[in-house]
């Protein structure tokens, strides 16, 4: 299937149904996204501290959303490189909620299974798992599990830091758990059945 889209995009074809992509992303974004207001000025791409590592600047991503290039957008590493520094958000002359759109795109990419580098999604998922188990984040467990899986080669050079953190008492070896874990899980389970549509 993805193959076909590529062909279509390469041929410059846009189907009527593709044009709903922008609206779909806008609807799924918390708050009022103003995504349709983008004037392609590039303030976001110019402001981004991590733009050099992105395959598309945020501005390009918004143009691609408009063009209905669903799979290309969801394959992009851009949302995953976003560091949520909000420079683009406050500078955007059209008040587009850029950072929140990035969150939406991450969620959509995970659901569509289109983003092939699993480092970032895994980290997020690991984090979420921790929170859903303990109600609090647990840095040591998180970092070691994550690094073991994704940067095993980097672990040795990271050891001094981990060692330092533990010896300075800055990384408890045991996680903390909140008291009303069940209440939290009830809330989250209910929340998972809900989706933002209107």
């Amino acid at each position: 299937m993805p193959q076909m889209t590529d062909e279509r995009v390469r041929a410059g074809l846009t189907r009527e149904e593709d044009l709903s992509l922008l609206h779909e992303v806008s609807m799924k974004t918390a708050g009022v996204s103003h995504l349709e207001m983008c004037i392609q000025c590039g303030t976001c791409g110019g402001s981004c501290p991590a733009a050099q590592d992105m395959d598309h600047t945020p501005r390009m991503l918004f143009a691609m959303l408009r063009a209905g290039m669903r799979e290309e957008v969801l394959r992009s590493n851009t949302p995953w490189i976003c560091v949520s520094c909000y420079h683009c958000v406050v500078r955007c002359p059209q008040e587009v909620h850029i950072a929140d759109v990035m969150y939406t795109l991450k969620g959509m990419a995970i659901k569509a299974k289109l983003y092939t580098d699993s480092t970032a999604p895994d980290f997020s998922q690991t984090f979420v798992d921790m929170v859903e188990t303990y109600g609090r984040s647990f840095e040591l467990g998180l970092a070691s599990r994550h690094y073991l899986k994704h940067f095993p080669l980097r672990l040795p050079s990271m050891t001094p830091m981990g060692f330092g953190m533990v010896t300075k008492g800055r990384m408890p070896i045991k996680p903390k758990r909140i008291r009303h874990m069940k209440q939290l899980n009830n809330i989250l389970n209910r929340a998972k059945q809900l989706e933002l549509t209107s």
Binding site: T43, C44, G46
Partner: protein
């Protein structure tokens, strides 16, 4: 209500080609009206292809004469389009023009609805409403008031100067009031003007001199309007002439006082903060009038009580420390407001570093920098006052087209940015970058100028600059200002090190534009620009008769447009003057003093001061010349003593009933 004689109403339903007839069954509407509104007095109902055509109008005129119509309803387009047309037709046939009503079945029906049955039904209701209303209409006569041939022009920038000269040259007297010590406005600060690169002073100063010496112009600089009363034809205006501390009768403008004054002050106004002036000063060499003013806040004598160097050296004894502000009353028939703009405060865009990073300049600063008469004698140098930049970045849309600041396009900044690029290139040979979102070079010879600047090798980057920083990331950037931007056409973020940055700041309304609007009884848009009567067809008139606007006070514009508006406003004024008297729309409120209980509820409601209360008689009176016809007092009067012509309670009530088809014979739609 007294017994009324049956009116004879004619109803005319326009097809407007297929604009109306395509959606509304015009034949059905006409025949329905003739049958069902007969008891209301409809004697004839016709449909016609184009009612506004001369044949259509003749049809109405003929019926008025032959059928003895006393009222006319035309079901066609919006009254804002053709009300005047049909009123004139009625007048031609001897019927009072205010006995004609338009029923809008195009804008309100055929263009906005699709279902033919529904649209036809709604059209019938709209026609029924108009018929019921027109019966309650009364003949009205326009109110005529004489016009004082004197004119007040507020603001001595290029728009105001132009307006004043046009009127003065036509032989009528003008009071030209300017807040600053000299006329000339922003244009006097510029070096070159786009796209022809005329020297700004060379083309402006002859006009300034002409205005300053014109026998028909009374120049009042260092003055402000503090009060306005009256109405079109006879405004009474109070002008505060601020103390200059220089006797204009004696002063020869020799400049010795300025030379001898020991107090140096940063000139925030004319030199945009880049240069100095004395405490007693004329802002620039070609100032009109030539008399200096003394800046009370900074004068050593006013602060410490000693000095008086100016007085000591003045050869004519013109310095007068005892001078006081004067209030001067003038009477004029018309007023033109040309109060100009303020420059957007670029410090608000903190990511561009103006005010924090020394070599970031505003557009007005650059104008002074490049001006041969400016603080650097026209040498384009950095803030240290001596180094010529080797690379310059010019940023467009600063504070404009940005919801965080001003939403609108400031119109002139693109061309201004191109002009700067040319001047920097020509005078320094520096590498010049222009950063823009969209290049807006509309109007004559503007795009050609863009081509020229392209040819000169200016590097254009399409992208709104994200930030200007001095945080270097490598040797290449060290000691420079780094412009960080997405080159949207290359699709890459770039960091461009330059020596100097110029911000093409936007224009914004004067900080006090809302108060000034209130003073003259005109309104401002939410942004603060003065609101014109019609954005396309009446761009220099305002909702208040006799008050006109020109130049940037109405919205951002360049010099040619400002001049055109100044001339346009003066043409409107001359038209008024030459008519000697003006007819006011007869939509006015009036008080039936027999019914007025003297409760004074209405007294505070009128923003035009048309309502006065007679303490002796304990009744209220409305001045018809001041009344603008809004009707607020009519609606408020608990005794029903105030009536509003053209929009009386009877007319509106009848229209409501008609729209609800309450006045039908029991036939049904």
């Amino acid at each position: 209500m007294s017994e009324k004689k049956q009116e004879r109403v004619g109803v005319y339903v326009c097809h407007c080609g297929s604009n109306i007839a395509g959606v509304v069954d015009v034949f059905d509407v006409a025949s329905w009206a003739e049958e069902n509104l007969k008891h209301q007095g409809v004697v004839i109902a016709r449909e016609y292809k184009f009612m506004c055509s001369s044949l259509g109008q003749e049809l109405i005129e003929k019926d008025i004469k032959e059928l003895g119509l006393t009222r006319v309803v035309v079901a066609a387009c919006s009254p804002h389009l053709h009300e005047k047309t049909f009123r004139t037709a009625a007048k031609n046939a001897g019927l009072n023009p205010y006995l004609v009503e338009l029923a809008s079945i195009r804008e309100q029906v055929s263009w906005v609805h699709t279902d033919k049955a529904v649209a036809t039904k709604k059209s019938k209701a709209v026609v029924a409403g108009a018929v019921s209303r027109v019966i309650e209409n009364v003949p009205l006569e326009e109110l005529k008031v004489p016009i004082n041939p004197n004119t007040l022009v507020v603001g001595g920038g290029i728009a105001g100067i132009q307006a004043a000269l046009e009127i003065a040259n036509a032989g009528f007297h003008v009071y030209l009031v300017e807040r600053e010590p000299s006329i000339g406005g922003h244009m006097a600060q510029f070096d070159k003007t786009f796209p022809t690169l005329d020297c700004s002073a060379c083309i402006l100063t002859p006009r300034m001199v002409e205005a300053g010496t014109h026998p028909n112009i009374t120049l009042m600089t260092w003055s402000e309007v503090v009060n306005v009363s009256g109405y079109v034809g006879s405004f009474n205006v109070t002008v505060k002439k601020k103390a200059r501390f220089v006797n204009e009768e004696l002063c020869t403008g020799c400049g010795i006082c300025e030379e001898k004054c020991p107090k140096k002050v940063i000139d925030e106004v004319f030199e945009a903060g880049l240069g100095y002036r004395k405490a007693v000063y004329t802002p620039f060499a070609q100032a009109v009038p030539k008399y200096p003013v003394m800046d009370r806040e900074n004068c050593t004598y006013f602060i410490k009580g000693t000095c008086k160097a100016c007085e000591k050296f003045c050869p004519t004894g013109a310095i007068d420390f005892k001078q006081e502000d004067q209030l001067i009353n003038i009477e004029v028939g018309n007023i033109i407001l040309a109060t100009g703009y303020d420059l957007f405060d670029a410090r608000r865009v903190s990511n561009y570093g103006y005010g924090r990073l020394p070599n970031v300049f505003t557009s007005l600063e650059f104008e002074r920098l490049s001006n041969a008469a400016g603080p650097t004698n026209g040498n384009i140098v950095m803030r240290d006052g001596k180094t010529t930049p080797k690379s310059v970045g010019i940023i467009h849309c600063v504070g404009s087209r940005d919801k965080n600041f001003n939403n609108y396009c400031s119109v002139i900044c693109c061309m201004q940015g191109l002009k700067f690029a040319h001047l920097v290139h020509e005078r320094t040979g520096a590498t010049v970058y222009n950063f823009y979102i969209d290049m807006r070079t509309a109007y004559k010879a503007y795009d050609e100028f863009y081509q020229r600047v392209l040819e000169e090798g200016t590097l254009f980057v399409r992208g709104k600059v994200a930030e200007v920083t001095n945080a270097a990331r490598n040797e290449h950037e060290r000691g420079k200002l780094i412009i960080q931007v997405e080159d949207t056409l290359a699709g890459k973020q770039r960091r461009i090190p330059v020596d100097m940055v110029i911000l093409s700041s936007g224009l914004q309304p004067r900080a006090d534009s809302k108060e000034v609007g209130k003073l003259f009884g005109i309104s401002c848009s939410t942004d603060g620009w003065f609101t014109e009567k019609h954005p396309k067809l009446d761009p220099v008139a305002t909702m208040t008769e006799g008050i006109y606007i020109a130049g940037c006070s109405q919205g951002p514009k360049d010099i040619p447009s400002s001049v055109a508006q100044g001339a346009a406003a003066s043409a409107r004024v001359l038209d008024k003057i030459l008519q000697r008297e003006v007819a006011l729309e007869p939509i006015k409120a009036s008080v039936n003093q027999e019914m007025c209980s003297g409760c004074r509820i209405c007294n505070g409601l009128c923003p035009f001061n048309a309502i006065t209360f007679h303490e002796d008689l304990m009744v209220t009176e409305i001045n018809p010349a001041l009344c603008q016809g809004c009707g607020t007092c009519v609606a408020a009067c608990p005794a029903g003593a105030i009536s509003g012509t053209g929009f009386s309670d009877q007319q509106i009530m009848a229209q409501i009933d008609g729209l609800l088809l309450r006045n039908l014979e029991p036939v049904g739609v």
